[in-house]
């Protein structure tokens, strides 16, 4: 398996500075269940990568590790040329302001207005006085409207977050990230609540914006055809390991079948699958 992912790696290593570098990274959940183990991954600045794989494969855990909202148990993690867990708390917060995570269900306070929710994206770069003032009177309304406009939501600027649908909330989350303007964009199922046409359109916007800003984009997706359509590089994750890592054009139906294989079989004996933690351990 590790031999499969090496071919693209040398080409990328020639790039001056990778946006993120994982070497032997593993993470075990609090319950003792192994989520990721021995992960090696290198992504160059400006690259756009889709992460696909069956449910529970560890896609979200991987993104949360990259967003520094989880600390890896093993291995080395390097983001934008820095090791987040060796930095001081203040320096880590500054690094985090360069990383934008799009949540599957964006956690926005229900009574907050959309304009405030979008402006909150740039808090990491604002002083406390400016953010306090903006809370009373939104300062950069033009910037927020522009970010929302890219997702066709400019008319929702002064609505409350609880008045929006799930798909609209996801787009507000993307707009907040666009307003944050990070160097590293992480997206966890960013279009899961949208209809297929809107999902494809929104992924197109996300990719164009990432390209325009030369930002690195990593997105986990359930819809394989969307991943193949919009992303040049695909990483297949299964059981906490990287199954393949290659350009989208080289991915054949066999690899996809292997990635998602057994899922039906695993479903059938799911009642005794309560013993999954011990099943996972020998594989690592």
């Amino acid at each position: 398996m590790s031999t499969l992912q090496t071919p693209p790696a040398p080409g990328l290593a020639a790039q001056p500075e990778p946006a993120l570098k994982l070497a032997g990274v593993g993470h075990t959940h609090a319950g003792g269940q192994i989520a990721l183990c021995g992960l090696d991954l290198q992504v160059a600045q400006g690259e756009r990568v889709a992460i696909i794989g069956p449910s529970g494969a560890g896609k979200t855990t991987l993104l949360r590790l990259l967003a520094t909202s989880l600390k890896p148990d093993q291995g080395d993690l390097e983001l934008l040329g820095k090791r987040p867990w060796t930095l001081s708390a203040g320096a880590r917060q500054r690094l985090r302001s360069q990383i934008g995570l799009i949540h599957q269900a964006p956690p926005l306070p229900p009574r907050q207005r959309v304009v405030t929710a979008v402006l909150a994206g740039r808090l990491g770069k604002w002083s406390l006085a400016k953010s306090l003032l903006s809370l009373l009177y939104p300062l950069d309304r033009r910037g927020a409207a522009e970010a929302l406009g890219r997702l066709d939501l400019a008319d929702k600027l002064y609505m409350r977050c609880d008045q929006l649908s799930g798909g609209q909330l996801q787009r507000v989350g993307i707009a907040r990230m666009l307003y944050q303007a990070p160097e590293l964009i992480l997206a966890d199922e960013p279009v899961s609540a949208m209809d297929p046409v809107l999902a494809s359109h929104t992924l197109g916007v996300l990719n164009r914006e990432a390209q325009r800003r030369n930002a690195t984009l990593l997105a986990s997706l359930h819809a394989v055809e969307l991943a193949l359509e919009h992303f040049p590089r695909i990483v297949g994750v299964r059981d906490g390991r990287i199954l393949f890592d290659k350009p989208a054009s080289e991915i054949g139906p066999d690899e996809l079948a292997a990635l998602y294989a057994n899922e039906q079989l695993q479903h059938a004996p799911s009642p005794p699958a309560a013993a999954t933690p011990p099943l996972n351990i020998p594989r690592c």
Partner: protein, 277 residues
């Protein structure tokens, strides 16, 4: 699962019965220890004394001179309660921010559980809040009346100290009861803790904070009246005088004023909640 015998037998029946019996068993000694005897209320001479005291309540005093006095005392009471609450808020909000777990940076990468040292640092603040609110305001009032003399200052200080403890504790709990994910997402995007509080926690907590604060303001009005009896100014001091003079009409007028003040607080609370929640 479909066994009819199992459906007939509620597994929670025995624990619930035990809890009910336990509650009764605990209440009975409480009644005994507090020497509660409702019969005393209807005893001949006691009922007569109360009757004559109450009958003097009608009509409420409404001479111009007294109304002027009442107006002054009401304003003083409102001023004591409001000034005390403002001072209490100034202490309570920083303490609540320090005591709450929501804004912990170390909790961010640990699934919401702060590191042990971060928890340990929160304990002195919690301890301070406990000390502040465990001593009744009337004790503080007695202390400050000795220290700064008769008058509203003692009342303001007593309310500020006790209510800082109560508000701080409840605010910290309100902050912890709201959805922590928005604040955590903001911390994860590089925001400072205060910024994450302002944009992630406060929008969800405003309604509850306002309604609790207004309720506490109402309590402060009542407390300032009680403290008036020990010389801390306001309506309470007036009422103490009127009671000593058996001027039932004046007492009734003051009680009606209380009613109006509590109604006012209730209206204010409803208005604020309607606006912010």
């Amino acid at each position: 699962m479909l066994n009819p015998a199992a459906a007939r037998h509620d597994p929670a029946a025995a624990p619930r019965l035990m809890l009910t019996l336990l509650a009764v068993a605990l209440l009975w000694p409480g009644v005994r220890l507090s020497e509660l005897d409702l019969g005393v209320l209807f005893d001949g001479s006691n009922a007569d004394t109360m009757g004559t005291f109450l009958s003097a309540f009608w009509p409420p005093e409404h001479s111009g001179e007294f109304l002027g006095l009442l107006w002054q005392a009401t304003l003083e009471t409102l001023a004591i309660a409001t000034a005390g609450m403002t001072l209490a808020l100034a202490v309570a909000i920083p303490c609540a921010l320090l005591a709450t777990r929501v804004l912990s940076l170390s909790a961010l990468s640990r699934g919401g559980r702060p590191a042990w040292w971060a928890q340990a640092l929160r304990w002195p603040v919690r301890g301070l809040l406990i000390v502040l609110r465990s001593i009744p305001e009337i004790v503080w009032a007695l202390l400050f009346v000795r220290a700064v003399g008769l008058g509203p200052t003692a009342g303001v200080l007593a309310i500020a100290i006790t209510y800082a403890g109560m508000l701080g504790k409840v605010y910290a709990e309100i902050f912890e009861s709201v959805d922590p994910l928005p604040a955590r997402a903001l911390l994860g995007a590089g925001a400072s803790r205060l910024q994450a509080f302002l944009y992630g926690v406060l929008p969800q907590a405003t309604g509850e904070m306002l309604s609790y604060s207004v309720y506490r303001w109402e309590c402060a009005i009542r407390a300032s009246v009680v403290m008036g009896f020990v010389g801390a100014g306001g309506l309470g001091q007036q009422m103490d005088l009127s009671m000593r003079m058996f001027a039932g009409g004046e007492v009734a007028a003051m009680l009606l004023t209380f009613l109006a003040l509590v109604l006012l607080a209730d209206l204010l609370s409803r208005m604020l909640r309607w606006r912010f929640a």
